[in-house]
Subunit: 333 residues, 2 copies
DNA sequence: CCAAATACTTTACGCGCGTAAATTATTTGT
DNA sequence: ACAAATAATTTACGCGCGTAAAGTATTTGG
């Protein structure tokens, strides 16, 4: 920057000011800097910039598992919103590992972020480490809530999700049983099970929950293997299966296919399968998956706006916002 | 660090040395530092660390599209290998946008990376910007090659991919036609088409290429829409369709389902569909997709090893390594 | 026990930039 | 044209650490 300021004929502090905000310098100097910029393509070092700044424009985005297109999609959405608001997002994934999650947060500190958008791993997260981080850095929790951490929580209304799609399934055929992982990684899963139980009771039907074994994040495989077992053992008491999430449903669809069981809502089909999440892939399963979708746009918009407002000093008491999902009617149920 | 060194009773330079490599200090001082570390959980600022270091341990990983599980998977694999080798990987995605790709590389410079693993967007990439970057930073190109940039290229042998699966399809049924995007984003697509043409000629069959319209990275949708058109217009001259990649095949499977066309290799099926890539999702389509898979492990291993060797000074002339794929036999073809 | 080797401490400077304070130059309003 | 307002410059220090050099303490080998 020293060299560049000499070349442009403008003092270094003014050049520094220019890069912070080009509008903050006189038009004539801006022109001189930009003219010099064309001859010498200089760019300030982002990390040195943030070294001694009171308020950085850095925003950290942390998701539990980037190889899940759901998180990849919502992360991309959040990134774009941050950029549009003039912030510099950096994306991190915990890769499903609680230790790595803590590690990521620690290295995030070095970035001196103005704020962080964090989707915790959930059940497996190291609570105390998360809390410590949230105490130091303005953090908005999204997707799955952990206690009342951070400045706010934004996610989907899992109770509405499950009761709504359960309602739909009951109205259009046999009441559904509920297909889930025995030890889900995500706390939302518990809400969904509870909501299923509540909804079934409210509608006057008897609930049935089929919980399958399986650890980790390979939900499709867990759904497939668990599906095979449940199908073979005739554990599904009705012809309609509501899955705790879309990835599990995708695995179950595969199991059905492999057993020659036709899935769909037409009379020639043996069972109906529905998912929950509106996973990017759910449109392309065979049959396309009926599901209840997160309002990706609304969740990420609300999350970004809330965090950026907090960064700008609009402090408000902790608040949980849960947005409704939209039923997506396709052919699987 | 100053404060912490005072607390631990060890001088700051020694503490600095400790964090660079704990083994490099005497056992007794190490013990004192680690004891102090338990009372005061201090962690050095990663970005300040790299500020004045000759050789950093940073490695940048850049992929064209993180929401594609294929790239997410290979990126995770690469990350792990870098960590295991004692490096600090940072992941970036160009989100399918050539301008963002350049932007990402620019901000990567600030990280002063020891090296970069770059999977370029391909056709759309800004060649000159990539070249400039590769001239300054040791960069290994993977997945899709752009000129002879960087220190080396590591990817899959697309010619082997397509000729191998074409061979398989010819041996087991009608010779395949080839289903692809008219203007593919990725240069590998051209190799695959050419390889298909070559292979068919070599086997004594007439090749047929069906190119569908569509821009961008929504391959499944492009495959689905293009598939519908091709099916309706009876453009598939044989009952066997080899798709240029798995995502296109997934979309085509959906189109087939929506038209009531049964896909598979049994006599009751109307057509066979095969993909290429070994996409993480290909196992769970209905029917599960026969495909030829990248050797994820071998590619990422070779890429990481080659880059890290180059970082360690093992300079070799530019070299292209293309690894063979493995045929994955499933039910779709 | 002593000399050599090794590890540590002190001191000092550098990385690439932000930023505050005091001066000086330029623009603006009238 | 002149004072007031605004913008740029100069100077200086700071961020959180790496690292080199010279000196001091500790360990090692015989």
């Amino acid at each position: 920057m020293e060299e560049f300021s000499a070349i442009s004929g403008i003092s270094r502090p003014t050049v520094s000011k220019y890069f912070h905000n080009p509008e903050s310098v006189r038009k004539s100097t801006r022109a001189r800097i930009e003219e010099a910029l064309e001859r010498y393509d200089y760019r300030p070092n982002i990390f040195a910039m943030n070294q001694n700044r009171k308020l950085t424009k850095n925003v950290g985005i942390v998701v539990p598992l980037l190889s899940d297109p759901y998180f990849a999609e919502i992360a991309r959405n959040l990134e774009q919103r941050c950029i549009d608001a003039g912030y510099r997002p950096t994306l991190f994934s915990a890769h499903g590992d609680p230790d790595l999650e803590v590690e990521v947060l620690e290295s995030l500190r070095s970035l001196k972020p103005a704020g962080v958008l964090l989707a915790p791993l959930g059940r497996a997260s190291h609570r105390d480490a998360l809390k410590k981080f949230c105490d130091d850095v303005p953090t908005l929790i999204f997707d799955s809530s952990v206690d009342e951490l951070g400045i706010a929580f934004v996610g989907s209304d899992n109770f509405q999700f499950t009761s709504h799609i359960t309602d739909y399934l009951c109205r259009t055929g046999e009441p559904p049983c509920f297909f889930e992982m025995k030890t889900p990684a995500n706390p939302n899963a518990h809400r969904r099970r509870q909501s299923y139980l509540d909804a079934m009771t409210a509608f006057g039907h008897e609930p049935h929950v089929i919980s399958v074994e399986g650890e980790g994040w390979s939900f499709e495989e867990i759904g497939r293997v668990g599906g095979h077992q449940a199908l073979s053992n005739k554990q599904f008491p009705t012809n309609t299966i509501l899955c705790s999430n879309d990835r599990l449903a995708i695995g179950l669809l595969t199991a059905c296919y492999e057993q020659g069981i036709k899935v769909g809502r037409t009379p020639d089909c043996a069972i109906r399968v529905a998912g929950q999440d509106g996973h990017p892939h759910s449109r392309y399963t065979c049959p396309p998956l009926t599901t209840i979708s997160h309002d990706y746009d609304a969740v990420s918009k609300h999350a970004a706006i809330t965090l950026l407002a907090a960064i700008d000093g609009h402090v408000e008491p902790w608040k949980s916002t849960r947005l409704e999902g939209k039923l997506i009617l396709r052919d699987s149920a």
